[in-house]
Protein backbone atom coordinates (compact mmCIF):
# COMPACT_ATOMS: atom_id res chain seq x y z
CA UNK A 1 0.00 0.00 0.00
CA UNK A 2 2.81 2.40 0.88
CA UNK A 3 4.40 1.52 -2.46
CA UNK A 4 1.14 2.13 -4.28
CA UNK A 5 0.74 5.44 -2.50
CA UNK A 6 4.29 6.51 -3.34
CA UNK A 7 3.87 5.49 -6.96
CA UNK A 8 0.65 7.44 -7.36
CA UNK A 9 2.11 10.44 -5.58
CA UNK A 10 4.75 10.65 -8.28
CA UNK A 11 2.08 11.44 -10.86
CA UNK A 12 0.38 13.89 -8.61
CA UNK A 13 2.42 16.94 -9.47
CA UNK A 14 3.47 15.98 -12.96
CA UNK A 15 5.41 19.14 -13.55
CA UNK A 16 7.57 18.72 -10.47
CA UNK A 17 8.18 15.07 -11.23
CA UNK A 18 9.04 15.94 -14.82
CA UNK A 19 11.59 18.52 -13.66
CA UNK A 20 13.18 16.08 -11.24
CA UNK A 21 13.22 13.24 -13.73
CA UNK A 22 14.66 15.54 -16.40
CA UNK A 23 17.46 16.78 -14.18
CA UNK A 24 18.40 13.26 -13.13
CA UNK A 25 18.13 12.14 -16.73
CA UNK A 26 20.44 14.90 -17.78
CA UNK A 27 22.95 14.19 -15.03
CA UNK A 28 23.12 10.48 -15.75
CA UNK A 29 23.10 11.03 -19.49
CA UNK A 30 25.93 13.51 -19.36
CA UNK A 31 27.98 11.68 -16.74
CA UNK A 32 27.74 8.33 -18.47
CA UNK A 33 28.53 9.87 -21.84
CA UNK A 34 31.50 11.77 -20.53
CA UNK A 35 32.90 8.84 -18.59
CA UNK A 36 32.35 6.45 -21.47
CA UNK A 37 34.34 8.69 -23.77
CA UNK A 38 37.01 9.26 -21.17
CA UNK A 39 37.39 5.67 -20.06
CA UNK A 40 37.09 4.53 -23.66
CA UNK A 41 40.02 6.73 -24.57
CA UNK A 42 42.09 5.48 -21.64
CA UNK A 43 41.12 1.93 -22.45
CA UNK A 44 42.26 2.41 -26.00
CA UNK A 45 45.54 3.91 -24.88
CA UNK A 46 46.13 1.13 -22.43
CA UNK A 47 45.12 -1.46 -24.94
CA UNK A 48 47.52 -0.18 -27.57
CA UNK A 49 50.29 0.02 -25.01
CA UNK A 50 49.58 -3.47 -23.90
CA UNK A 51 49.31 -4.87 -27.39
CA UNK A 52 52.01 -3.00 -29.23
CA UNK A 53 54.63 -2.30 -26.61
CA UNK A 54 54.77 -4.10 -23.37
CA UNK A 55 51.97 -6.57 -22.94
CA UNK A 56 50.10 -6.41 -19.64
CA UNK A 57 53.29 -7.77 -18.19
CA UNK A 58 56.67 -7.78 -19.79
CA UNK A 59 59.57 -10.05 -18.97
CA UNK A 60 63.05 -9.04 -20.05
CA UNK A 61 66.62 -9.53 -18.96
CA UNK A 62 67.76 -7.55 -15.97
CA UNK A 63 69.34 -4.36 -17.20
CA UNK A 64 67.49 -4.28 -20.53
CA UNK A 65 64.97 -1.69 -19.40
CA UNK A 66 67.66 0.90 -18.68
CA UNK A 67 69.81 0.01 -21.62
CA UNK A 68 67.80 -1.43 -24.46
CA UNK A 69 70.56 -3.08 -26.45
CA UNK A 70 70.90 -6.57 -27.83
CA UNK A 71 73.64 -7.41 -25.35
CA UNK A 72 70.89 -7.29 -22.72
CA UNK A 73 68.91 -10.05 -24.44
CA UNK A 74 68.37 -13.50 -22.96
CA UNK A 75 68.38 -17.18 -23.95
CA UNK A 76 64.93 -18.36 -24.91
CA UNK A 77 65.59 -22.00 -24.02
CA UNK A 78 66.11 -21.20 -20.33
CA UNK A 79 63.80 -23.73 -18.55
CA UNK A 80 62.89 -21.07 -15.98
CA UNK A 81 60.90 -19.25 -18.66
CA UNK A 82 58.38 -22.10 -18.75
CA UNK A 83 56.82 -20.44 -15.70
CA UNK A 84 55.45 -17.71 -17.95
CA UNK A 85 53.43 -19.93 -20.28
CA UNK A 86 52.44 -22.24 -17.46
CA UNK A 87 50.82 -19.45 -15.45
CA UNK A 88 47.05 -20.02 -15.69
CA UNK A 89 46.29 -16.31 -16.09
CA UNK A 90 48.54 -15.92 -19.10
CA UNK A 91 46.63 -15.94 -22.35
CA UNK A 92 49.47 -15.24 -24.76
CA UNK A 93 53.19 -14.73 -24.45
CA UNK A 94 55.01 -13.27 -27.42
CA UNK A 95 58.80 -13.38 -27.76
CA UNK A 96 60.27 -10.34 -29.44
CA UNK A 97 63.76 -9.43 -30.51
CA UNK A 98 64.12 -5.71 -31.07
CA UNK A 99 66.96 -3.51 -32.15
CA UNK A 100 67.57 -0.23 -33.93
CA UNK A 101 68.92 -0.22 -37.46
CA UNK A 102 69.68 2.20 -40.21
CA UNK A 103 67.56 1.48 -43.25
CA UNK A 104 67.96 2.69 -46.77
CA UNK A 105 66.22 2.46 -50.07
CA UNK A 106 67.19 4.40 -53.16
CA UNK A 107 69.29 7.30 -51.89
CA UNK A 108 67.26 7.87 -48.69
CA UNK A 109 68.09 6.61 -45.21
CA UNK A 110 66.12 6.42 -41.97
CA UNK A 111 66.56 5.00 -38.48
CA UNK A 112 64.02 2.27 -37.79
CA UNK A 113 63.08 -0.09 -34.99
CA UNK A 114 63.39 -3.65 -36.20
CA UNK A 115 61.17 -6.09 -34.39
CA UNK A 116 61.57 -9.82 -34.83
CA UNK A 117 58.37 -11.66 -33.97
CA UNK A 118 56.15 -14.65 -34.55
CA UNK A 119 53.72 -13.53 -37.27
CA UNK A 120 50.94 -15.93 -36.40
CA UNK A 121 50.97 -15.00 -32.69
CA UNK A 122 51.36 -11.26 -33.21
CA UNK A 123 48.56 -11.25 -35.75
CA UNK A 124 46.28 -12.41 -32.99
CA UNK A 125 47.79 -10.05 -30.48
CA UNK A 126 47.99 -6.87 -32.55
CA UNK A 127 45.19 -7.79 -34.93
CA UNK A 128 47.53 -7.16 -37.84
CA UNK A 129 45.63 -8.55 -40.84
CA UNK A 130 43.01 -5.78 -41.00
CA UNK A 131 45.74 -3.16 -40.57
CA UNK A 132 47.72 -4.33 -43.56
CA UNK A 133 47.31 -1.76 -46.31
CA UNK A 134 48.90 -3.82 -49.07
CA UNK A 135 50.68 -7.14 -49.46
CA UNK A 136 50.37 -10.05 -47.06
CA UNK A 137 51.82 -10.86 -43.65
CA UNK A 138 55.06 -12.87 -43.89
CA UNK A 139 55.30 -16.45 -42.65
CA UNK A 140 57.56 -17.55 -39.82
CA UNK A 141 60.21 -18.87 -42.20
CA UNK A 142 60.10 -16.06 -44.77
CA UNK A 143 62.91 -13.62 -45.37
CA UNK A 144 60.93 -10.42 -45.86
CA UNK A 145 59.78 -7.39 -43.86
CA UNK A 146 56.51 -5.73 -42.99
CA UNK A 147 56.97 -1.96 -43.04
CA UNK A 148 54.99 0.65 -41.11
CA UNK A 149 52.94 3.02 -43.23
CA UNK A 150 54.99 6.16 -42.55
CA UNK A 151 58.25 4.40 -43.28
CA UNK A 152 56.83 3.18 -46.57
CA UNK A 153 55.60 6.70 -47.36
CA UNK A 154 59.01 8.15 -46.58
CA UNK A 155 60.68 5.82 -49.06
CA UNK A 156 57.70 5.72 -51.41
CA UNK A 157 57.90 1.97 -51.10
CA UNK A 158 55.55 -0.58 -52.61
CA UNK A 159 55.22 -4.27 -51.91
CA UNK A 160 58.05 -6.12 -53.63
CA UNK A 161 60.58 -3.26 -53.26
CA UNK A 162 63.79 -4.03 -51.43
CA UNK A 163 65.19 -2.33 -48.33
CA UNK A 164 68.70 -2.47 -46.93
CA UNK A 165 69.38 -2.56 -43.17
CA UNK A 166 72.60 -1.98 -41.26
CA UNK A 167 72.95 -2.40 -37.52
CA UNK A 168 75.14 -3.64 -34.73
CA UNK A 169 74.14 -7.08 -33.53
CA UNK A 170 74.66 -9.16 -30.44
CA UNK A 171 78.15 -8.72 -28.91
CA UNK A 172 79.08 -6.16 -31.49
CA UNK A 173 78.83 -8.31 -34.60
CA UNK A 174 77.99 -6.21 -37.57
CA UNK A 175 74.61 -6.87 -39.09
CA UNK A 176 73.61 -6.10 -42.65
CA UNK A 177 70.99 -7.52 -44.94
CA UNK A 178 68.49 -6.63 -47.59
CA UNK A 179 64.89 -7.75 -47.52
CA UNK A 180 61.96 -7.43 -49.88
CA UNK A 181 58.87 -5.66 -48.53
CA UNK A 182 56.06 -8.21 -48.20
CA UNK A 183 53.46 -5.87 -46.69
CA UNK A 184 52.77 -2.32 -45.55
CA UNK A 185 50.87 -1.92 -42.30
CA UNK A 186 49.13 0.94 -40.50
CA UNK A 187 49.78 0.77 -36.76
CA UNK A 188 47.36 2.52 -34.44
CA UNK A 189 50.33 3.38 -32.28
CA UNK A 190 51.81 6.42 -33.94
CA UNK A 191 55.29 5.72 -32.61
CA UNK A 192 55.31 2.34 -34.28
CA UNK A 193 53.68 3.74 -37.39
CA UNK A 194 56.59 6.19 -37.77
CA UNK A 195 59.44 3.75 -37.51
CA UNK A 196 58.62 0.07 -37.11
CA UNK A 197 59.82 -2.66 -39.40
CA UNK A 198 58.83 -6.19 -38.50
CA UNK A 199 60.33 -9.44 -39.65
CA UNK A 200 60.17 -13.09 -38.61
CA UNK A 201 61.81 -13.99 -35.30
CA UNK A 202 64.11 -16.54 -36.90
CA UNK A 203 65.34 -14.05 -39.44
CA UNK A 204 65.77 -11.41 -36.73
CA UNK A 205 67.96 -13.73 -34.66
CA UNK A 206 69.93 -14.44 -37.78
CA UNK A 207 70.27 -10.75 -38.71
CA UNK A 208 71.31 -9.62 -35.23
CA UNK A 209 73.54 -12.67 -34.71
CA UNK A 210 71.48 -13.56 -31.66
CA UNK A 211 70.60 -17.20 -32.20
CA UNK A 212 67.97 -18.49 -29.77
CA UNK A 213 67.68 -15.11 -28.02
CA UNK A 214 64.98 -12.50 -27.40
CA UNK A 215 64.90 -9.04 -25.86
CA UNK A 216 61.48 -9.35 -24.27
CA UNK A 217 58.42 -11.50 -23.72
CA UNK A 218 55.14 -9.59 -23.92
CA UNK A 219 52.57 -11.31 -21.74
CA UNK A 220 48.85 -10.85 -22.38
CA UNK A 221 46.46 -11.80 -19.59
CA UNK A 222 42.99 -13.20 -19.88
CA UNK A 223 41.86 -10.91 -17.09
CA UNK A 224 43.81 -7.63 -16.81
CA UNK A 225 42.70 -7.28 -13.18
CA UNK A 226 45.02 -10.19 -12.34
CA UNK A 227 48.03 -8.16 -13.41
CA UNK A 228 49.54 -7.56 -9.99
CA UNK A 229 49.05 -11.18 -9.06
CA UNK A 230 50.81 -12.40 -12.19
CA UNK A 231 53.68 -9.94 -11.68
CA UNK A 232 54.17 -11.31 -8.18
CA UNK A 233 53.95 -14.92 -9.27
CA UNK A 234 56.40 -14.48 -12.12
CA UNK A 235 58.79 -12.49 -9.97
CA UNK A 236 58.73 -15.34 -7.49
CA UNK A 237 59.36 -18.09 -10.03
CA UNK A 238 62.02 -16.34 -12.13
CA UNK A 239 65.59 -15.70 -11.04
CA UNK A 240 65.51 -11.97 -10.41
CA UNK A 241 69.23 -11.60 -10.87
CA UNK A 242 68.68 -12.56 -14.50
CA UNK A 243 65.17 -11.36 -15.28
CA UNK A 244 62.94 -8.43 -14.58
CA UNK A 245 59.11 -8.61 -14.55
CA UNK A 246 57.25 -5.36 -15.20
CA UNK A 247 53.60 -4.42 -15.48
CA UNK A 248 52.68 -1.88 -18.12
CA UNK A 249 51.96 0.54 -15.30
CA UNK A 250 55.58 0.31 -14.18
CA UNK A 251 56.86 0.39 -17.71
CA UNK A 252 54.92 3.54 -18.56
CA UNK A 253 54.41 5.60 -15.40
CA UNK A 254 53.86 8.74 -17.50
CA UNK A 255 50.81 7.14 -19.06
CA UNK A 256 49.40 6.22 -15.67
CA UNK A 257 49.99 9.78 -14.49
CA UNK A 258 48.45 11.32 -17.58
CA UNK A 259 45.36 9.18 -17.15
CA UNK A 260 45.07 10.03 -13.48
CA UNK A 261 45.50 13.76 -14.07
CA UNK A 262 43.00 13.78 -16.90
CA UNK A 263 40.60 11.62 -14.92
CA UNK A 264 40.78 14.01 -11.95
CA UNK A 265 39.75 16.90 -14.20
CA UNK A 266 36.78 14.92 -15.40
CA UNK A 267 35.80 13.98 -11.86
CA UNK A 268 35.78 17.62 -10.79
CA UNK A 269 33.41 18.40 -13.64
CA UNK A 270 31.19 15.53 -12.61
CA UNK A 271 31.22 16.68 -9.01
CA UNK A 272 30.04 20.13 -10.06
CA UNK A 273 27.36 18.55 -12.22
CA UNK A 274 26.15 16.38 -9.39
CA UNK A 275 26.19 19.29 -6.98
CA UNK A 276 23.94 21.33 -9.27
CA UNK A 277 21.62 18.38 -9.76
CA UNK A 278 21.55 17.65 -6.02
CA UNK A 279 20.46 21.19 -5.28
CA UNK A 280 17.73 20.83 -7.86
CA UNK A 281 16.58 17.57 -6.31
CA UNK A 282 16.67 19.12 -2.88
CA UNK A 283 14.58 22.03 -4.12
CA UNK A 284 11.88 19.75 -5.44
CA UNK A 285 11.84 17.84 -2.16
CA UNK A 286 11.34 21.14 -0.33
CA UNK A 287 8.43 21.94 -2.64
CA UNK A 288 7.00 18.49 -2.11
CA UNK A 289 7.08 18.81 1.66
CA UNK A 290 5.51 22.22 1.61
CA UNK A 291 2.68 20.98 -0.59
CA UNK A 292 2.16 17.94 1.54
CA UNK A 293 2.35 19.31 5.09
CA UNK A 294 -1.41 19.51 5.59
CA UNK A 295 -1.84 15.96 4.35
CA UNK A 296 0.97 14.76 6.60
CA UNK A 297 -0.89 16.44 9.46
CA UNK A 298 -4.12 14.60 8.64
CA UNK A 299 -2.35 11.25 8.29
CA UNK A 300 -0.38 11.72 11.48
CA UNK A 301 -3.63 12.68 13.23
CA UNK A 302 -5.54 9.61 12.15
CA UNK A 303 -2.68 7.43 13.37
CA UNK A 304 -0.21 6.87 10.55
CA UNK A 305 3.23 6.51 12.10
CA UNK A 306 6.03 8.88 11.20
CA UNK A 307 8.19 6.09 9.82
CA UNK A 308 5.46 5.04 7.40
CA UNK A 309 4.87 8.63 6.45
CA UNK A 310 8.54 9.02 5.65
CA UNK A 311 8.70 5.69 3.84
CA UNK A 312 6.18 7.01 1.31
CA UNK A 313 8.23 10.14 0.67
CA UNK A 314 11.40 8.06 0.53
CA UNK A 315 9.94 5.61 -1.97
CA UNK A 316 8.69 8.53 -4.00
CA UNK A 317 12.17 9.99 -4.37
CA UNK A 318 13.67 6.58 -5.05
CA UNK A 319 11.12 5.90 -7.79
CA UNK A 320 11.58 9.32 -9.33
CA UNK A 321 15.35 8.98 -9.27
CA UNK A 322 15.20 5.49 -10.68
CA UNK A 323 12.98 6.61 -13.54
CA UNK A 324 15.34 9.47 -14.37
CA UNK A 325 18.42 7.29 -14.06
CA UNK A 326 17.06 4.42 -16.12
CA UNK A 327 15.83 6.81 -18.81
CA UNK A 328 19.23 8.50 -18.74
CA UNK A 329 21.03 5.23 -19.30
CA UNK A 330 18.58 4.17 -22.01
CA UNK A 331 18.93 7.58 -23.62
CA UNK A 332 22.70 7.67 -23.60
CA UNK A 333 23.17 4.08 -24.71
CA UNK A 334 22.64 4.64 -28.47
CA UNK A 335 25.00 7.59 -28.35
CA UNK A 336 27.68 5.61 -26.54
CA UNK A 337 27.14 2.70 -28.90
CA UNK A 338 27.50 5.03 -31.85
CA UNK A 339 30.76 6.50 -30.59
CA UNK A 340 31.98 3.03 -29.78
CA UNK A 341 31.56 1.99 -33.40
CA UNK A 342 32.48 5.37 -34.86
CA UNK A 343 35.15 6.78 -32.59
CA UNK A 344 35.05 10.52 -32.31
CA UNK A 345 38.02 12.10 -34.05
CA UNK A 346 39.49 15.08 -32.30
CA UNK A 347 40.76 18.03 -34.28
CA UNK A 348 42.57 21.24 -33.40
CA UNK A 349 44.99 21.82 -30.55
CA UNK A 350 43.63 19.00 -28.41
CA UNK A 351 44.28 16.57 -31.22
CA UNK A 352 47.80 17.90 -31.66
CA UNK A 353 48.54 17.54 -27.99
CA UNK A 354 47.44 13.93 -28.12
CA UNK A 355 49.40 13.36 -31.32
CA UNK A 356 52.50 14.74 -29.63
CA UNK A 357 52.08 12.12 -26.97
CA UNK A 358 52.15 9.47 -29.64
CA UNK A 359 48.47 8.56 -29.58
CA UNK A 360 45.83 8.61 -32.21
CA UNK A 361 43.41 11.45 -31.43
CA UNK A 362 40.30 9.29 -31.66
CA UNK A 363 37.92 8.64 -28.80
CA UNK A 364 36.03 5.39 -28.95
CA UNK A 365 33.37 5.30 -26.23
CA UNK A 366 33.70 2.56 -23.63
CA UNK A 367 30.78 0.16 -23.37
CA UNK A 368 31.73 -0.93 -19.87
CA UNK A 369 28.36 -1.39 -18.11
CA UNK A 370 29.93 -0.49 -14.77
CA UNK A 371 29.99 3.16 -15.91
CA UNK A 372 26.20 3.23 -16.14
CA UNK A 373 25.69 1.34 -12.89
CA UNK A 374 28.16 3.58 -11.08
CA UNK A 375 26.33 6.74 -12.05
CA UNK A 376 22.92 5.27 -11.37
CA UNK A 377 24.24 4.35 -7.96
CA UNK A 378 25.57 7.86 -7.40
CA UNK A 379 22.20 9.51 -8.09
CA UNK A 380 20.48 6.90 -5.92
CA UNK A 381 22.81 7.69 -3.05
CA UNK A 382 22.25 11.41 -3.56
CA UNK A 383 18.49 10.95 -3.46
CA UNK A 384 18.74 8.77 -0.36
CA UNK A 385 20.83 11.44 1.35
CA UNK A 386 18.32 14.11 0.35
CA UNK A 387 15.51 11.96 1.74
CA UNK A 388 16.98 12.49 5.19
CA UNK A 389 15.66 16.02 5.10
CA UNK A 390 11.97 14.97 4.95
CA UNK A 391 12.78 12.46 7.68
CA UNK A 392 13.91 15.31 9.84
CA UNK A 393 10.81 17.40 9.04
CA UNK A 394 8.43 14.49 9.60
CA UNK A 395 10.08 13.61 12.88
CA UNK A 396 9.35 17.07 14.20
CA UNK A 397 5.91 17.41 12.61
CA UNK A 398 3.13 18.42 14.97
CA UNK A 399 -0.32 17.18 13.89
CA UNK A 400 -2.11 20.33 14.99
CA UNK A 401 0.30 22.82 13.48
CA UNK A 402 0.59 20.85 10.26
CA UNK A 403 -3.15 21.19 9.70
CA UNK A 404 -3.18 24.90 10.43
CA UNK A 405 -2.89 26.04 6.80
Amino acid sequence: MLIKLAWRNIWRNKRRTAITVASIFFAVFFAVFMRSMQLGFYGKMIDSVVRFYSGHVQVHAKGYWDDQILDNSFELNDPELKAIRENPNVEMAANRLEGFALSSSGDLTKGVLMIGMDPELEDRLMDLEPKIQSGALFGANDRSVMVAEKVAEYYKLAVGDTMVFISQGYHGVSAAAKYPVSSIVRFTSLVLNERAVMFPMKEAQNFFGAEGRATSVAVILGNPNKMDKVVNELTASLDTSKYEVMSWEEALPELVQAIEADGAGGLIMLMILYMVVSFGMFGTVLMLIQERVYEFGVLLSIGMGRLKLWTVVFLESIFTTLIGAVLGVIGVYPLVLYFNHNPYELTGPAAEAILDQGWEPVLPASLDPSIATTHMLIVMVVSILIAFYPAFIIRKLNPVEARRN
Binding site: M1, L5, E295, S301, I302, V400
Partner: protein
Protein backbone atom coordinates in the same frame (compact mmCIF):
# COMPACT_ATOMS: atom_id res chain seq x y z
CA UNK B 1 -23.36 3.67 31.44
CA UNK B 2 -19.61 4.07 31.31
CA UNK B 3 -17.88 7.26 30.29
CA UNK B 4 -15.88 7.10 27.08
CA UNK B 5 -14.30 10.49 27.60
CA UNK B 6 -13.51 12.19 30.87
CA UNK B 7 -11.68 15.42 31.38
CA UNK B 8 -10.74 16.85 34.70
CA UNK B 9 -10.01 20.55 35.10
CA UNK B 10 -8.37 20.68 31.68
CA UNK B 11 -6.36 23.84 31.07
CA UNK B 12 -4.51 25.07 28.02
CA UNK B 13 -2.66 28.34 28.25
CA UNK B 14 -0.74 29.88 25.40
CA UNK B 15 2.20 32.11 26.33
CA UNK B 16 1.66 31.49 30.05
CA UNK B 17 2.80 34.25 32.36
CA UNK B 18 3.30 36.73 29.57
CA UNK B 19 1.17 39.74 28.80
CA UNK B 20 -0.17 37.88 25.77
CA UNK B 21 -1.35 34.91 27.83
CA UNK B 22 -4.35 33.19 26.23
CA UNK B 23 -6.47 30.84 28.32
CA UNK B 24 -7.79 28.68 25.46
CA UNK B 25 -9.14 26.19 28.01
CA UNK B 26 -9.62 27.30 31.54
CA UNK B 27 -10.69 24.35 33.66
CA UNK B 28 -12.88 22.11 31.55
CA UNK B 29 -14.37 19.10 33.33
CA UNK B 30 -16.77 16.89 31.42
CA UNK B 31 -17.87 13.32 30.79
CA UNK B 32 -19.09 11.86 27.53
CA UNK B 33 -20.95 8.55 27.73
CA UNK B 34 -20.95 5.82 25.13
CA UNK B 35 -23.50 6.48 22.40
CA UNK B 36 -23.75 10.22 22.85
CA UNK B 37 -24.37 12.62 19.95
CA UNK B 38 -22.90 15.77 21.36
CA UNK B 39 -22.09 19.19 19.97
CA UNK B 40 -19.48 21.56 21.35
CA UNK B 41 -20.51 25.09 20.54
CA UNK B 42 -19.41 28.59 21.37
CA UNK B 43 -18.13 31.75 19.74
CA UNK B 44 -14.99 31.82 17.69
CA UNK B 45 -11.94 31.53 19.92
CA UNK B 46 -13.88 29.98 22.77
CA UNK B 47 -11.65 26.89 22.78
CA UNK B 48 -13.66 24.26 20.86
CA UNK B 49 -10.81 23.16 18.64
CA UNK B 50 -8.37 23.21 21.52
CA UNK B 51 -10.64 20.95 23.57
CA UNK B 52 -11.20 18.48 20.73
CA UNK B 53 -7.46 18.40 19.97
CA UNK B 54 -6.59 17.51 23.53
CA UNK B 55 -9.34 14.91 23.81
CA UNK B 56 -8.15 13.54 20.47
CA UNK B 57 -4.58 13.16 21.70
CA UNK B 58 -3.34 15.67 19.14
CA UNK B 59 -2.30 18.41 21.50
CA UNK B 60 -0.95 18.66 25.05
CA UNK B 61 -2.70 20.29 27.97
CA UNK B 62 -1.11 22.80 30.29
CA UNK B 63 -2.78 21.18 33.30
CA UNK B 64 -5.54 18.70 34.10
CA UNK B 65 -6.18 15.25 32.68
CA UNK B 66 -8.10 13.62 29.85
CA UNK B 67 -9.06 9.95 29.95
CA UNK B 68 -10.35 7.82 27.10
CA UNK B 69 -11.84 4.55 28.32
CA UNK B 70 -9.26 3.40 30.87
CA UNK B 71 -6.36 5.32 29.38
CA UNK B 72 -5.20 8.64 30.71
CA UNK B 73 -4.03 10.00 27.39
CA UNK B 74 -2.57 13.13 28.88
CA UNK B 75 0.14 10.84 30.28
CA UNK B 76 1.09 9.27 26.94
CA UNK B 77 4.11 10.19 24.85
CA UNK B 78 3.72 11.57 21.33
CA UNK B 79 4.50 8.24 19.72
CA UNK B 80 2.21 6.29 22.03
CA UNK B 81 -0.49 8.78 21.14
CA UNK B 82 -0.15 8.03 17.39
CA UNK B 83 -0.97 4.38 18.02
CA UNK B 84 -3.66 5.27 20.50
CA UNK B 85 -5.38 7.53 18.00
CA UNK B 86 -5.20 4.89 15.30
CA UNK B 87 -7.00 2.29 17.39
CA UNK B 88 -9.32 4.37 19.55
CA UNK B 89 -10.37 7.59 17.88
CA UNK B 90 -12.01 8.36 14.58
CA UNK B 91 -11.31 11.79 13.11
CA UNK B 92 -13.27 13.96 10.71
CA UNK B 93 -11.72 17.33 10.01
CA UNK B 94 -13.23 20.36 8.43
CA UNK B 95 -11.94 19.58 4.94
CA UNK B 96 -9.33 17.74 2.88
CA UNK B 97 -9.53 14.64 5.01
CA UNK B 98 -8.74 12.22 2.24
CA UNK B 99 -5.59 11.16 0.45
CA UNK B 100 -6.11 12.63 -3.00
CA UNK B 101 -4.36 9.84 -4.90
CA UNK B 102 -6.45 7.07 -3.35
CA UNK B 103 -10.02 6.13 -4.25
CA UNK B 104 -12.86 6.27 -1.73
CA UNK B 105 -12.45 2.56 -1.15
CA UNK B 106 -8.69 2.82 -0.69
CA UNK B 107 -9.03 5.76 1.65
CA UNK B 108 -11.32 3.79 3.94
CA UNK B 109 -9.21 0.67 3.64
CA UNK B 110 -6.03 2.59 4.36
CA UNK B 111 -6.69 3.03 8.06
CA UNK B 112 -7.34 -0.69 8.48
CA UNK B 113 -4.10 -1.40 6.66
CA UNK B 114 -2.34 0.72 9.24
CA UNK B 115 -4.01 -1.52 11.82
CA UNK B 116 -2.81 -4.64 10.00
CA UNK B 117 -6.34 -5.96 9.52
CA UNK B 118 -6.78 -8.89 7.17
CA UNK B 119 -7.57 -8.20 3.55
CA UNK B 120 -10.85 -9.99 3.81
CA UNK B 121 -11.98 -7.91 6.78
CA UNK B 122 -10.78 -4.70 5.16
CA UNK B 123 -12.75 -5.28 2.01
CA UNK B 124 -15.88 -6.39 3.76
CA UNK B 125 -15.92 -3.48 6.15
CA UNK B 126 -15.05 -0.91 3.49
CA UNK B 127 -17.91 -1.99 1.26
CA UNK B 128 -20.28 -2.05 4.22
CA UNK B 129 -19.30 1.42 5.47
CA UNK B 130 -19.35 3.09 2.07
CA UNK B 131 -22.81 1.68 1.55
CA UNK B 132 -23.91 3.01 4.92
CA UNK B 133 -22.77 6.53 4.07
CA UNK B 134 -24.58 6.21 0.75
CA UNK B 135 -21.51 5.95 -1.48
CA UNK B 136 -21.70 2.32 -2.52
CA UNK B 137 -21.42 3.49 -6.13
CA UNK B 138 -18.44 5.79 -5.53
CA UNK B 139 -16.00 3.14 -4.35
CA UNK B 140 -13.57 3.82 -7.17
CA UNK B 141 -13.84 7.59 -7.29
CA UNK B 142 -10.97 9.75 -6.18
CA UNK B 143 -11.65 12.69 -3.84
CA UNK B 144 -11.34 15.15 -6.74
CA UNK B 145 -14.22 13.43 -8.48
CA UNK B 146 -16.52 13.79 -5.48
CA UNK B 147 -18.39 16.74 -3.98
CA UNK B 148 -17.35 18.20 -0.64
CA UNK B 149 -20.29 16.46 1.03
CA UNK B 150 -19.38 13.12 -0.48
CA UNK B 151 -15.77 13.57 0.63
CA UNK B 152 -16.94 14.24 4.19
CA UNK B 153 -19.05 11.08 4.08
CA UNK B 154 -16.02 9.07 3.00
CA UNK B 155 -14.16 10.67 5.90
CA UNK B 156 -16.91 9.50 8.27
CA UNK B 157 -16.67 5.99 6.82
CA UNK B 158 -12.90 6.07 7.30
CA UNK B 159 -13.29 7.34 10.88
CA UNK B 160 -15.50 4.37 11.65
CA UNK B 161 -13.40 1.81 9.80
CA UNK B 162 -10.89 1.51 12.62
CA UNK B 163 -13.68 0.67 15.10
CA UNK B 164 -12.82 3.59 17.37
CA UNK B 165 -14.28 4.26 20.80
CA UNK B 166 -15.72 7.52 19.47
CA UNK B 167 -15.58 9.91 16.53
CA UNK B 168 -14.29 13.47 16.87
CA UNK B 169 -15.39 15.96 14.25
CA UNK B 170 -14.17 19.57 14.35
CA UNK B 171 -16.65 21.60 12.31
CA UNK B 172 -17.31 18.79 9.83
CA UNK B 173 -19.94 20.78 7.96
CA UNK B 174 -18.25 24.19 7.89
CA UNK B 175 -17.39 23.84 4.20
CA UNK B 176 -20.68 22.27 3.11
CA UNK B 177 -23.86 23.68 1.64
CA UNK B 178 -27.07 23.16 3.57
CA UNK B 179 -28.21 20.09 1.66
CA UNK B 180 -24.86 18.33 2.13
CA UNK B 181 -24.85 19.41 5.76
CA UNK B 182 -28.21 17.86 6.38
CA UNK B 183 -27.23 14.67 4.48
CA UNK B 184 -24.06 14.31 6.54
CA UNK B 185 -25.97 14.87 9.78
CA UNK B 186 -28.54 12.25 8.74
CA UNK B 187 -25.82 9.73 8.20
CA UNK B 188 -24.04 10.54 11.46
CA UNK B 189 -27.32 10.39 13.37
CA UNK B 190 -28.21 7.08 11.80
CA UNK B 191 -24.84 5.54 12.63
CA UNK B 192 -25.25 6.86 16.14
CA UNK B 193 -28.72 5.34 16.50
CA UNK B 194 -28.18 2.03 14.76
CA UNK B 195 -24.62 1.23 15.73
CA UNK B 196 -24.32 3.23 18.91
CA UNK B 197 -21.32 5.17 17.58
CA UNK B 198 -20.32 8.00 19.90
CA UNK B 199 -19.99 11.36 18.11
CA UNK B 200 -18.45 14.50 19.53
CA UNK B 201 -18.45 17.43 17.13
CA UNK B 202 -17.96 21.15 17.21
CA UNK B 203 -20.02 23.53 15.13
CA UNK B 204 -21.17 27.09 14.55
CA UNK B 205 -24.18 26.05 12.53
CA UNK B 206 -27.54 26.36 14.29
CA UNK B 207 -29.08 23.60 12.14
CA UNK B 208 -26.35 21.25 13.26
CA UNK B 209 -26.76 22.31 16.87
CA UNK B 210 -30.46 21.51 16.57
CA UNK B 211 -29.65 17.92 15.64
CA UNK B 212 -27.41 17.29 18.67
CA UNK B 213 -28.82 15.49 21.68
CA UNK B 214 -26.46 17.23 24.05
CA UNK B 215 -24.97 20.68 23.59
CA UNK B 216 -21.95 21.86 25.56
CA UNK B 217 -21.31 25.58 25.25
CA UNK B 218 -17.85 27.03 25.76
CA UNK B 219 -16.90 30.62 26.32
CA UNK B 220 -13.42 31.88 27.05
CA UNK B 221 -12.29 28.32 27.65
CA UNK B 222 -14.96 27.52 30.22
CA UNK B 223 -18.15 25.48 29.99
CA UNK B 224 -21.01 27.93 30.45
CA UNK B 225 -23.83 25.54 29.72
CA UNK B 226 -24.41 21.83 29.21
CA UNK B 227 -27.87 20.80 28.18
CA UNK B 228 -29.21 17.38 27.31
CA UNK B 229 -32.27 17.03 25.09
Amino acid sequence: MSAVIKTNNLQKYYNPGESLEVRALDGVTLEIERGEFTAIVGPSGSGKTTLLNIIGGLDHETAGTATIGDTTITALSDNELIDFRLNNIGFVFQAYNLIPVLTAQENVEFIMLLQNKSKEERQRRTAELLKEVGLGDKMNSRPMEMSGGQQQRVAVARALASKPQFVLADEPTANLDSQSTSDLLDIMAELNQKENVTFLFSTHDQRVIDRARRVITLEDGKIISDEKR
